[in-house]
Each structure stands twice: as structure tokens, then as C-alpha cells.
């Protein structure tokens, strides 16, 4: 299924586990260092300081470096615990890898958000990037939050509407 950002609620409602996605548009990146900081800004009502809009967005759990991009384990504490708050703030698709807990599955369902996975095929995933720039936390280096412009970025739905492949 072709997905273009920003994503509306109806599109997410239609997606099911095992659906294959090809994403074009913009995706944010974040992992262990950036996502808890992003959640703190949301919780303190200071998200606008970053000048970004998370509504209808995608966050890919990856570093961004000269070595390319690739999913990191989403079930690491700093990443998985950020998913409920980010979903509430409007993130519609979280992309990473690895199984998530029952509590996270429920939080995704409550916010009509989903979790998708992709293989860590860095040489292929990096070739989908058309543009990239840092949008927050540059001091975190490769873990800084980036905005990527991508074309035909592949993923497969792993958790949606209370159902999980894991």
C-alpha cells in the first residue's frame, strides 16, 4: 500500500497487520537519546519550540549517520516508553523492529496509531533518502532527531488496532 505523509486517521484505520507499506514524504527519526527528550517537551507544552508538527507523522527508530539508516530495537526502554506519549501527540506510524509489550499495543490502539517494522537493510533503506536535516537535539550526534524526505521507504505493519504479529 502506498502511504504519503501526512497521514489521516481514516488511512490508519484501514491498515492491518502484515500489510506492506511503501512510504513517500517526510519521516522523523529518533531513538534512545532523542525520543525521551521529545516526550519531555510535549509534556511541558513546549513542542512548538522545535517548529515541528507531529500530527499525521511517522517516526523511524534509527540513527542517522554517514553509515546510513536502519531500524534499531524499538523495545529498548527509552524508545518503547516514548510510544504512548508520541502517539497521543499525533504520531501515526512508529517504524522500528522487535516485539512490543501488551501495554504498548493497547496505547497504540487507544490513539489509532500503528507500529511497523522493516529489515535492517541499510544499503537499501539509505537509498530511499532524498533529503535530510537535523530538526532537534543536534548535540546528540547520530542520535539527533532528523527529518528525512524519502521515496518508497518499505515497511510492514506489525501492530495495529490491538492485533500484533508477535
Amino acid at each position: 500500500m502506498l502511504i504519503r505523509t501526512p497521514i489521516d486517521e481514516a488511512t490508519i484505520s484501514e491498515l492491518k497487520i502484515y500489510d506492506k507499506l511503501e512510504i513517500s514524504g517526510t519521516i522523523f527519526t529518533g531513538r534512545d537519546a532523542a525520543l525521551p527528550r521529545l516526550v519531555k517537551l510535549i509534556e511541558s507544552g513546549r513542542l512548538e519550540e522545535l517548529g515541528i508538527d507531529l500530527r499525521g507523522s511517522i517516526i523511524f527508530h534509527t540513527a542517522v549517520s554517514p553509515a546510513g539508516i536502519g531500524p534499531t530495537s524499538s523495545n529498548k526502554h527509552d524508545i518503547e516508553t516514548s510510544i504512548p506519549a508520541l502517539s497521543k501527540a499525533g504520531v501515526k506510524i512508529h517504524v522500528g523492529k522487535g516485539s512490543l509489550s501488551a501495554a504498548t499495543v493497547e496505547a497504540l490502539k487507544a490513539n489509532n496509531s500503528i507500529f511497523a517494522v522493516n529489515p535492517p537493510v541499510t544499503a537499501l533503506l539509505t537509498s530511499t533518502i532524498r533529503e535530510k536535516r537535523v530538526v532537534a537535539f543536534p548535540e546528540e550526534g547520530m542520535e539527533a532527531m532528523h527529518l528525512l524526505q524519502v521515496e518508497n521507504f518499505p515497511a510492514i505493519v506489525a501492530i495495529a488496532h490491538g492485533e500484533s504479529i508477535f
Binding site: A63, S65, T72, P119, P120, T126
Partner: protein, 288 residues
């Protein structure tokens, strides 16, 4: 002397780049076999993507995985070989050069002990600032020095463990425990098919070191009875590539059993390798 230093450093750098960008023939063949026999279409897509990624990475000399890993080095020294002065310094230099050339992910953590623990002082921008792990050394026969570079990604470190197993005077007890560990770890890994590497020794250090040796020597086309039994046992879970279901949860298993202690305890070390493991390459020196 300078020329020798340069030769060692350059060949180490090239070996690191090869380890990070290239599947070996036995690895390619294992994936081709797995993709051909995989019944689950989603898992088949993952296995074919991994093969396509390997071909692209080798062609463009780009990392197989963006987590380019922590360099680990195994040096096998022949009984009749003489190491030149400064050998390890040249290897360290080669590792740094290789990481810059690759390029490796710039993930060396700055700061003193407390700052490095909390990652509060930031990261080095220089890929080459990432130090290699303490070198492992083995004695071998002949007059050659064989250097193997292995790149250890982070995901497997979350799912690996080293722990005692009470064997109850039965190898089956140990092997069944290894299968149980493999099942538990494979479920959580995230980048299946996994490659399970085990070392079994008399101490935690020895077991982990033997596990590295298993990764350095393992061959997908030659699985021992123990290795095949563990692979088959974990594949019964049906977790499949990327957790999407199917019969390829484990691509292969590598086991190194070392000397054992007169005791009811065996120390087992597991590295739940990711789909690109073992990322390794070897170069051989013959110093006059």
C-alpha cells in the same frame, strides 16, 4: 619498520571494511537456500531483501547495517611466527582507518567514567574514535599470523547472556538449555533470522572468548550435530524473519566447546547474532 607498520595498518583497515560490507560465499548460499525454501511470503520478502542488500553493499562498499558495530579482533599466532614490534599499535591504527573509510557509525561516547555511563558528554564525530575491544589471541602451528576482524552490532548484545548451566551429567541437558535460551532471545531480537553463537567454558571470560572463536570460525555450510540440533530446535518456534512467521528464525548456529572443569557446572555464553552476523573477514601475515 615504518613500511611494515603501514602494511599492517592498511591490511587491517581493508579487512575491517570487507567484514562490514561483504557476505561470504557460505553466507550468501545459506540465505539463497533459506529464501528458496521459505513458505511464508512476508519472511521470504525479508530474506530476499537481505540478499539484495548484501549485493548492493558489496557493490557500493557501503555498510551492510548502519549499526556498523564494535570492532573485535582475533589474532592467531603460529609457533614459528615472530611478531614485529608495534604489531598491535598498527592493528589499532588500521581499525581506526577502516572505521573512517567505511564509514563506521560515529558512536564513541565522550567523557569520564560517569559521563560515559550516562552518555551525558556527547559523542565523538570521528568514526575512528571507536576503540576496538581487547584483542583475543590464540596459538596455532606454522609461521603465519592470522588476523580476523569481527564487527559486533548492538542488538545482539541486548539479547545475549553468559550464565552457568547445571549439566546433571548429560550433554542433552546443556543443549536443551541452549535451545531454550535461543528461543527466548530470538523472540525479542527484532532482526531475525538470527545467528546463534555459543561458547562453553570454565569461566565467564573463557566462555565469551570461545563464543567469539565460534563466530570467527563458523561456516554455514558445515553445521555440527550440536549446531544443527540447536538451529532446528529454535526454528520450531516459527518466529520467522523479522518476527513475521515462517521456518527461518535461525539461519545457523556456531558452537565452540572448550575444556571443561570437574564440576556439575558448565558456563555457557550466547550471542544472539543478527541477520548479518558474523560480520567478519580475515587477513594472513607472514613476517620474515
Amino acid at each position: 619498520m615504518m613500511d611494515l607498520f603501514e602494511e599492517i595498518a592498511e591490511r587491517t583497515a581493508k579487512t575491517l571494511v570487507t567484514a562490514s560490507t561483504t557476505f561470504r560465499p557460505d553466507q550468501m548460499e545459506a540465505y539463497r537456500r533459506a529464501a528458496a525454501s521459505e513458505k511464508n511470503p512476508n519472511s521470504k520478502w525479508v530474506l530476499e531483501s537481505i540478499l539484495e542488500n548484501a549485493e548492493a553493499a558489496e557493490r557500493t562498499k557501503f555498510p551492510l547495517c548502519d549499526d556498523t558495530g564494535i570492532p573485535h579482533v582475533l589474532v592467531e599466532i603460529g609457533d614459528e611466527a615472530v611478531l614485529p614490534a608495534g604489531f598491535l599499535k598498527a592493528v589499532e591504527e588500521g581499525v581506526a582507518r577502516g572505521l573512517r573509510e567505511l564509514p563506521g557509525r560515529p558512536m564513541a561516547v565522550k567523557g569520564n567514567d560517569l559521563e560515559r555511563l550516562s552518555q551525558s558528554a556527547g559523542l565523538y564525530e570521528d568514526s575512528g574514535a571507536l576503540l576496538m575491544a581487547p584483542v583475543q589471541v590464540r596459538r596455532t602451528v606454522g609461521d603465519e599470523v592470522v588476523l580476523t576482524v569481527l564487527m559486533y552490532g548492538g542488538g545482539p548484545e541486548i539479547r545475549g547472556k553468559t550464565l552457568r548451566v547445571f549439566h546433571k551429567h548429560s550433554a542433552d541437558v546443556v543443549i536443551e538449555e541452549m535451545i531454550a535460551w535461543g528461543k527466548e532471545a530470538a523472540k525479542l531480537l527484532g532482526c531475525q533470522p538470527c545467528i546463534l553463537a555459543f561458547g562453553i567454558g570454565r569461566s565467564n571470560l573463557e566462555a565469551a572468548s570461545l563464543g567469539l572463536e565460534a563466530m570467527a570460525k563458523g561456516d554455514f555450510s558445515r553445521q555440527s550435530e550440536i549446531e544443527q540440533r540447536i538451529t532446528d530446535g529454535v526454528n520450531e518456534t516459527g518466529i520467522g524473519a523479522l518476527g513475521l512467521g515462517g521456518n527461518t528464525t535461525v539461519l545457523g548456529t556456531f558452537v565452540k566447546v572448550g575444556p571443561q572443569r570437574a564440576s556439575g557446572v558448565r558456563v555457557v555464553s550466547l550471542r544472539t547474532g543478527c541477520c548479518f552476523d558474523p560480520r567478519r573477514a580475515t587477513t594472513t601475515f607472514k613476517f620474515q
